[in-house]
């Protein structure tokens, strides 16, 4: 079976999944599994439930991808809606209302702000999956590992200048991918 191109759009990928294309499904999973899990963790605050929601999301995607209509919008928001439904279903079993993790700020954000934050994180995490592996690695190490740039260079066994070049390139690529959010 021919492999699905890495360049195919999210919407085209969902349409291929709708035809029963397993390769397309795997590629879609690689693109969206971490954003879906991130969204579920924000909403459910529990790793086990979030992982269940991730699996339920992709089970639903497999079943319902044929209902996706590209003329109604791009693929990422469609998949976001599927994920949100799976997360809400998973949260219904709890006595308390699903919440975002505790916020350091004195005033808790309201639902609209939470939704906006969830959508932003979704888009950013989805865009990160588009980066070449070596660029994504330096970015994740730089922002979330606690390592300095010099330590990242040592960790990856590459020159410090290469770390900065890759970081800059990764940020520029992200800027292109997230053009809508940056306006």
């Amino acid at each position: 079976m021919p492999r699905v191109s890495e360049r195919v759009s999210d919407g085209d990928l969902i349409q291929l999944v709708g035809t029963g294309d397993r390769n397309a499904f795997e590629l879609l999973y690689r693109r969206f599994s971490r954003p879906v899990l991130g969204l579920a963790l924000r909403r459910l605050g529990d790793r086990g439930r979030a992982e269940d929601a991730l699996q339920e999301t992709f089970t639903s995607v497999w079943r319902s991808a044929s209902t996706y209509r590209p003329e109604r919008g791009p693929g990422a928001p469609w998949l976001y809606a599927v994920a949100r439904n799976a997360i809400v279903d998973r949260g219904r079993g709890r006595a308390e209302t699903p919440t975002e993790p505790p916020d350091d700020e004195a005033v808790e954000p309201g639902p609209p702000e939470q939704a906006e934050a969830s959508w932003l994180a979704w888009r950013v995490h989805r865009a990160l999956e588009e980066l070449p592996e070596r660029e994504r690695t330096v970015l994740e190490l730089a922002y979330w590992s606690g390592l300095s740039q010099s330590e990242v260079a040592t960790f990856l066994n590459i020159p410090l200048g290469t770390v900065k070049t890759r970081t800059r390139s990764a940020l520029a690529r992200l800027a292109d991918l997230l053009e809508e959010e940056l306006q």
């Binding site: 971490r34 899990l37 932003l120 740039q149 800059r168 940020l171 520029a172 800027a175």
Partner: protein, 200 residues
């Protein structure tokens, strides 16, 4: 884990033109606000094995007996169970696989992972299953694990008891009409879930 966001100039160097630095700075802010994406656990690196299989189709099947609760333990290496289940083995456990259902460990057994190969109804009207297990600790002599059918998060029917030692394949027969939506593993006599599938 870093508490303070990194300094953008430190990240990209000092030789970036002002306009470009301003553009990168907005991306930098988005990254800081979004926070890190989560890491996938080992069992979630790959997508669901058979996302389209409908466990819900099972209730239409007919079962005549409630008898076969016994579990047989096969001490094959992890993964060999698929070969045994699909191609036949010398222990009388051979059957044709209808579909696979992946299981993952709960917080009570985070390192456990399993997969159930569910067979076609056999001549005895049983529904054979081979469960390949990794990461469940060996229990003391006389204690067993139990495989359950689940529905809406509740344990509804037992599929049998088994023991495991390291990576194992256990053979079970579903003794009831399969009216569950998923499967779960507990310690026999307990209710705490150690492994479970996603309910369909």
């Amino acid at each position: 884990v870093r508490r303070e966001p990194p300094d953008l100039r430190d990240l990209v160097g000092d030789d970036v033109p002002a306009a470009e630095l301003e553009r990168l700075g907005r991306v930098h802010e988005l990254l800081v606000r979004a926070g890190p994406p989560p890491e996938l656990s080992t069992e979630l690196v790959e997508p669901p094995a058979d996302p389209g299989r409908e466990v819900a189709v099972l209730p239409r099947r007919r079962w005549r007996t409630l008898a076969a609760l016994a579990a047989a333990l096969a001490l094959a290496a992890f993964g060999a169970g698929w070969l045994a289940a699909s191609a036949g083995d010398s222990g009388g456990n051979a059957f044709a696989i209808d579909f696979h259902v992946p299981m993952h460990g709960t917080e009570a057994a985070p390192n456990a992972v399993a997969s159930i190969a569910v067979g076609e109804r056999d001549e005895s009207d049983n529904w054979p299953m081979a469960m390949t297990i990794r990461g469940l600790p060996q229990l003391p002599e006389g204690q067993h694990y139990e495989l359950w059918l689940t529905k809406d998060g509740k344990l509804i029917e037992s599929c049998g008891l088994f023991r495991t030692r390291g990576d194992s394949v256990v053979y079970l027969n579903a003794p009831f009409r399969l009216r569950g939506k998923g499967w779960a593993v507990t310690r026999a006599g307990g209710r705490r879930l150690l492994l479970r599938t996603v309910e369909i």
